[in-house]
């Protein structure tokens, strides 16, 4: 009986694929449909990125994050953003306590001190509160009263936005939008999925979600996908695609020049590359292909493209512009 000896990288790749598949299956027990959303969210988690979910209420955004946290056996917290939410409500604050007869200030950790944070309706909070969370997302630590407190890894924020009810909201500024790895649109399920949702959630017994992975698995997966190779040509294609979103670039398509005010940043390229590596591993490959870049480009860049007044007035979609940029880069 012969046994094939796998290299460490092959084992790591197998682990990645298996864990990914297991988590997806586990989450799929409760969440009906939304396979792309689940996959992209998982990839973002593996890459150490945060996701901005946009969808009308009641589509299962909170349920998704909840299920994920259960499947990953990670600490989950939820913040409902309201206009009166303060930054201290997010990151924590110092509280005066009496201990052994002495009064002293003690830092009380805020809800951000978790592994998975659901920031619901982030656009309802004031910019000050938003920036407090977003700084945490970037730095993965909190500084209060000149004291820095680290947040344990993995740390993943899933923020949601309601595309309707724009009254009394504060749109996230572009600089802070850029911190999100992916922006995903949660759409209405189809007829069959709708029925399945009702069947799963309307009954007496509801699916039980088991912990199939943990934080270490996620960190390991993140390390594995960093080893996936990319050829010069595919990298050139990726860079070209990102540069094509800039209107000041001479080679950019006419639509980009007309409807885009600012193009995607190098952070977008980093997000695309990391996500493309994850997709390659899922496909059983150790190299990134152009197809991987094409799949990841839209969710990675749609929130990073700032449309001009003309673009917004004409209702141009960022997704269409990104497709034009990808076509131009492929030529």
């Amino acid at each position: 009986m012969t046994q094939t000896i796998s290299s460490p990288i092959e084992e790591a790749a197998e682990h990645f694929k298996a864990t990914f598949k297991t988590i997806r299956q586990e989450v799929g027990k409760f969440i009906v449909g939304q396979d792309d959303i689940i996959e992209n969210v998982l990839i973002s988690i593996c890459c150490g990125g945060h996701v901005l979910l946009e969808g009308v209420p009641g589509l299962g955004k909170t349920a998704l994050v909840n299920t994920l946290s259960q499947a990953l056996n990670l600490d989950f917290q939820r913040i409902q953003f309201t206009p009166d939410l303060l930054p201290s409500d997010v990151v924590g604050t110092q509280v005066l306590i009496e201990e052994n007869g002495h009064r002293q200030l003690q830092f009380q950790k805020g809800p951000v001190f978790c592994n998975i944070l659901l920031a619901d309706e982030i656009n309802r909070a004031t910019p000050k509160t938003q920036s407090a969370l977003l700084e945490t997302m970037q730095e993965k630590r909190v500084t209060v009263a000149n004291k820095t407190h680290s947040i344990g890894l993995p740390f993943f924020v899933l923020a949601t936005q309601n595309p309707i009810e724009n009254d009394g909201t504060y749109a996230l500024p572009e600089a802070q939008l850029d911190r999100f790895f992916f922006k995903l649109y949660v759409t209405l399920p189809n007829h069959d999925d709708f029925k399945e949702i009702l069947n799963r959630t309307g009954g007496i017994e509801q699916p039980e979600i088991k912990a199939v992975a943990n934080g270490e698995d996620i960190l390991k997966m993140g390390h594995t996908l960093r080893q996936v190779a990319i050829s010069d040509e595919v990298q050139d294609y990726l860079v070209k695609a990102v540069r094509m979103t800039h209107p000041e670039n001479d080679d950019s398509p006419q639509e980009i020049k007309q409807y885009v005010r600012n193009g995607a940043s190098p952070r977008a390229a980093q997000s695309i590359l990391a996500a493309a590596r994850g997709r390659a591993l899922l496909d059983g490959r150790f190299h990134v292909a152009r197809e991987d870049v094409d799949e990841c480009a839209i969710p990675a860049m749609r929130h990073r493209l700032i449309l001009s007044f003309e673009g917004e007035a004409e209702g141009i979609l960022a997704d269409d512009l990104i497709r034009k940029a990808l076509s131009a880069a492929a030529k």
Binding site: E10, A229, A289
Partner: protein, 554 residues
Amino acid sequence: MKIDQFLNKIQRHLNLQKFISTVSWSLLAAGIIGIVYALSYILRGHAMIASGYWPLIGSSIVIGSIIASVNRNSREEAAHYADKKWQLKDLMLTTIQLQSSQNDNNKQSISNSEVVELIVSQAEQQAAKVNQDKLTLKWPKHIIFTGTSLLAVSIYMLTIPPSEAVVMKLAHENMIESRSNEVRNELEEYLDELDKSLDDDEKEALKLDELKQWVEEMKITGNEREAMKQFAKLEQKISLNLSQMNHAKEERALKKMAQELRKTDSQQARAIRKDIEKRDYDKAGKKLEDMQFKKNTESSQKKSTPLTEQQKKAAMMRAITKRMANANKSSNQSSSQGQSQGNQSNGSGSNGDNSQQSEIASMVSQLDKTLSELEKELRKCELDGKKLSNQKCESLCNNINDQLCKLSKKMCQTSAQCKASFKLKCLRQGLCQSQSYALGRCNKPSSRPGGQQAGVGSNHSERQERSDHLANGNMAQLQGIKNQTGPSQSSVEEAESGTAISSKNESQRERSYQRSFESFVQRDDIPEELKSGVQNYFESIHQYQEPTIPADQN
């Protein structure tokens, strides 16, 4: 390595495919070029020239083949092709790039070598798995078919003969060329004959060497327009030569002198007059030269010529020269009157021949003066009772002898110029006829009986018998009235359609008009330029004839 073998196979396939495609396109290009080349000839009625066609076609195909051979696919292109064809998702491309970056020691590879090995192994597995039978050559059938069809059509067009019009045009051009060559050869022969037959004076007057050079410079071409230009150029040069000959003035002066000489009865004067009237000016000049005084030799230097002898001779000579000088004076008077009238009518002074006396006339006048002096001197000697002439008389005699020599030389020159002028006019006339012949507008003048040789005119009025001459292939017969002089009043023309009599009233009217106009312009008050212009006009448009001497003037 398996990947190398795989990619090499792909590369070979791509190169062959590119070669087929390029050659097919070059075949199409060759077909299009062939059709365009063929149409450029056929549409103008010409036949295609095969010598230009085949190199054109061949070169386009060869160039296409060379381009296909040179323009080969790279290994990256082969990898790209394989990735696309078997949907390998950039596997081959990534493999060869990672391999090359690993082999390149200068480049720092960011990829883990383990990962590279895994990628290579995956690539090898895929290379082994793919169905290489899918590598079939695609033949661009439409392009090949179109190109081949166009080539076939253009090759067929090679067989299309030129149109009738073109054939006729080419034949016409060939005819013009050959006839022009013939005319030129004949001109050269004629000039060679002249070179042998003319004396030095005539050759000089004719500028024979220049004529020969002009004839040599004539370009032989089949283009009608160009051929006409060449003939016109030569004709122009001959006309220019003719205009530069200023013998007319001398001739007129001599004619007047001949008329004046009628008034004397002397034998010598009569002989000179006859020679002048016959236009044998050289003979007249020789006769004048023979009238020289005896030259004193060394032995006779001590002896002087007897006075009476000299007086007689001087008187004889004076009788002639006086008449000749008188003719000059009377013509000067009438021309000055005419000039003043002409100036009034024209408004501008017409300088030229009228104000300048002919050289012969001035020489004759000078000779007459010298003879008059001699007569006076001899008279003086006679009155002094001398029987022999003195030194002064001798020197005057020598002077007269010199003048006579110069006068004789001048008259010989004038005679040569007249003959040369006649020859040139004949040549010009012959050139006109030859031009028509060369351009195919008539038959060769000397080719059939009835026509005279080019350069020699015929006298209608002397023709007393039936004379058949051909004009453009039709027979024409001149009928004259027996025992009457003058040109024919009618001619019988025989053509393919039959025989008819055509009247020659038109030509008769032409001749009478010419005579009346020429006599009109001979009036003294008519400027000389007009006279010579009228003469030149009628000479250039009509067939040249030797001037006829009226019977009553002989």
